[in-house]
């Protein structure tokens, strides 16, 4: 029998944005066994949400993650609004959609840069992050900060986009679309990139569903499922179709995320042209009644599940958050055994891990 080595992947690794440890057992360069170890970023946010009044929890929920913080805040407001249930004005729905898609654009551009860095293609990493700076400038101009925007409240949104800001946004988004399309073309047709991603980490359609995958990880295996198909916020009025690939390997996941970046920019331009006038905030009546509500939103990394239970006072009884990476990690325990040593960083990065979301 060949000798076996146990090597740790993490908790610090250049490919991971946040710390997680995978103890990998190798037999001569082939992976045989994987054991995960979590717990480096646990902060107890679900318990802290029961102590505060319900308007203060928006700021806590946003700080679950730094990259996908906009949609955490919006999902919290949506699930608490469903306890009454109450309706928000149409202009607020369009504004929330625009900020969600802007957040998705910058998150996918970040991931494409990290993938290029994991393969060793550092010039591409810098070019992608250079385009991403323009999107972050737009977010700062309209919401006030680059991350942790806290722009939405229970009942609507806090800020509006006036006409001058709208013209700057449309012009910048069209520039970003042209430059991103040119770079994605390079990444998708390069023979070195294809040699390192095609055929690695393959998951069939049945395996993907039974392992609980969601988001672009699931859509790359041929399952047409996206939370935005339910038509919440303004997605029912914009023409939206999910993007699906059938191969199930790392190259298919790259293509799904690259095409979603361009689709997100198109959705924003369409929403800017169709946005109605009107007010942006409606005051909620009293405290949240004793009721339960569930809301699922589409984060850049997958499907995020929020559950809220009220009890008639200003504090919530229970808030449960299940983030997309929490359900994507067990698929690593099936994808990694059988692959080679040099493919491990690329496969771990292809699920788009966000560990601070997992551990809250």
């Amino acid at each position: 029998m060949a000798p076996r080595t146990v090597a740790p992947f993490g908790p610090q690794h250049p490919v991971l944005p946040e710390p997680i440890q995978l103890k990998i057992t190798y037999e001569d360069e082939k992976v045989v066994n994987v054991v995960p170890a979590l717990g480096y970023g646990h902060r107890g946010i679900e318990k802290a949400c029961e102590i505060n009044d319900y308007p203060k929890n928006i700021h806590l929920c946003e700080r679950i993650c730094g990259i996908c913080s906009c949609i955490h805040g919006i999902s919290y407001c949506e699930v608490v609004e469903r306890l009454w249930p109450m309706e928000i004005p149409p202009r607020a729905k369009y504004l929330r959609t625009i900020w969600s898609e802007m957040s998705r654009t910058h998150s996918h551009l970040l991931w494409l840069g990290l993938l290029a860095d994991a393969l060793g293609f550092e010039s591409m990493f810098m070019q992608f992050w250079r385009i991403r700076e323009k999107v972050l400038d737009l977010l700062e101009m309209t919401t006030g900060t680059r991350v942790t925007h806290s722009v939405s409240v229970v009942g609507g949104v806090r800020r509006d986009i006036n006409d001058e800001q709208k013209k700057i946004c449309i012009r910048t988004l069209q520039e970003v679309r042209k430059e991103a399309e040119a770079l994605i073309n390079v990444l998708a047709t390069d023979p070195t990139v294809k040699a390192r991603t095609v055929g690695k980490g393959v998951l069939t359609k049945e395996q993907a569903i039974m392992l609980g995958n969601n988001g672009p990880h699931l859509r790359a295996s041929g399952v047409k499922e996206d939370c935005r198909m339910e038509g919440m916020q303004a997605y029912g009025e914009l023409g939206f179709e999910p993007i699906v690939e059938t191969d199930g390997d790392c190259y298919a996941r790259t293509l799904v995320r690259a095409r979603e970046t361009l689709q997100a920019i198109d959705l924003q331009l369409e929403a800017f042209s169709k946005m109605p006038e009107g007010e942006i905030y409606v005051r909620p009546k009293g405290s949240p009644p004793a009721n339960e509500a569930v809301f699922r939103s589409e984060q850049p990394r997958g499907e995020c599940f929020y559950y809220a239970k009220g009890n008639g006072t200003r504090n919530l009884e229970r808030l449960r958050v299940r983030t997309p990476t929490f359900a994507n990690i067990p698929s690593l325990l099936v994808m990694l055994p059988g692959s080679e040593l040099a493919d491990v960083p690329v496969i771990v990065l292809s699920i788009d891990p966000c560990i601070s979301c997992t551990e809250r």
Binding site: P55, K56, H59, S150, R158, A182, V186
Partner: protein, 119 residues
Amino acid sequence: MPVMLPTVIRNLFGGPATRMYPVQVREPFEGARGHIEFNDDNCILCGNCARQCPAAAIEINKEKNELVFYPARCIICFVCAEACKKDAVIAANKWRTPYYTKPVEVHVAKGKKEKAKKE
């Protein structure tokens, strides 16, 4: 290789993509969230800002007629600036500079008008 050529030529003749900070400082945007300042002349100690602050960074002391602010706890969410009805909380857009020890600011509220004495 030829697919990346336009990007390469543009970067070769385009100049650097970064600016020489701290010699060149970018001006912040108009609505950007920088820091919080207090206007002592308008404050009437109603306590709206202290009740709504998510980080418990403002404390109201009615006996001593003062307002204590902890800048190190502040997360600059501007909920206090929207809650104040007397314009005593000013939302500024310049980012705060680093400090070595955590400061505590004490403000004496001067906004309350004396009630007219009944005859």
